[in-house]
Symmetry: C2
Subunit: 141 residues, 2 copies
Amino acid sequence: MNSEFVIAVHSLVLLAHRPEGMATSEEIAENVCTNPVRVRKVMGCLRKHGFIGTREGSGGGYRLSRDPDEVTLADVYRSLAAGSLAPSWCSGDPEKDCVVSSNMAEVMNAVFCGADRQLEAYFEGITIGRMLSQVKAKQQA
Amino acid sequence: MNSEFVIAVHSLVLLAHRPEGMATSEEIAENVCTNPVRVRKVMGCLRKHGFIGTREGSGGGYRLSRDPDEVTLADVYRSLAAGSLAPSWCSGDPEKDCVVSSNMAEVMNAVFCGADRQLEAYFEGITIGRMLSQVKAKQQA
DNA sequence: GGATACTGTAATAATATCAGTTACAGTTGA
DNA sequence: TCAACTGTAACTGATATTATTACAGTATCC
């Protein structure tokens, strides 16, 4: 899995955890353990898809613009990791004479599309809000 | 997805397509569009898991040792790509004070374990034999 | 027995992908 | 006007992936 997906989910959970205010890319990066530029890139994508709002300038940062219980991992997955399951590489060669070699790419592709849908369905059942609860539950223990 | 998985599946379908005899690593590599060493490495793994038999020496090669309709992609996945869904990288830091940062890795890991099981269940429904049929069906069209 | 055609495997080299850093223009608030 | 942000692009370095080369081991055929 695309690690931008992980950063996105972590960031959203963090924002859900402090709904009062904003977090800057530096704060988020510190929390996630990566660098601010990477965070800003991911957040830019989340903004385009309406998950968060940004405020530029001094005192700015990012803020959740949706109810954490309404945002599913499937939403996030679709926004920045859809289709990431299929390997970039395709086996076989359509030009070849062999039945297997010439048609494998297409069949394999269908398999991975199905897998992608399956994965998406699974993510559909997990919300940012639920992940926040789980994180808090771990703390108790 | 691990491209060794793709090579493995393609190779098994190819062997199923010519059940009479064997295929050498060079033939398979040509068909898959990669190099023979890579194929031998993957096949070595498939052999250890009992999917194929090998014969060394002149006239040797690889041969299916199971009914193609009994071998599922889940079997193959478990053999050489299990757990590949989770990114190598983990967000957060258990040492941090923040609830989110310190517990995210664990929660995220649980999510990906679930996703992996989901994927495996999907692959359970696809056999090598079925993929061979699909490949042949494409040819008709 | 010896030549030939394979597998098995390690080591290395080439290439592609991914992540971190630096730099800077644009925006906002005090 | 200054300080603190975001948004991006370009560059660098690290890491992962793939291909290549090389060679020992093994079976077959003559």
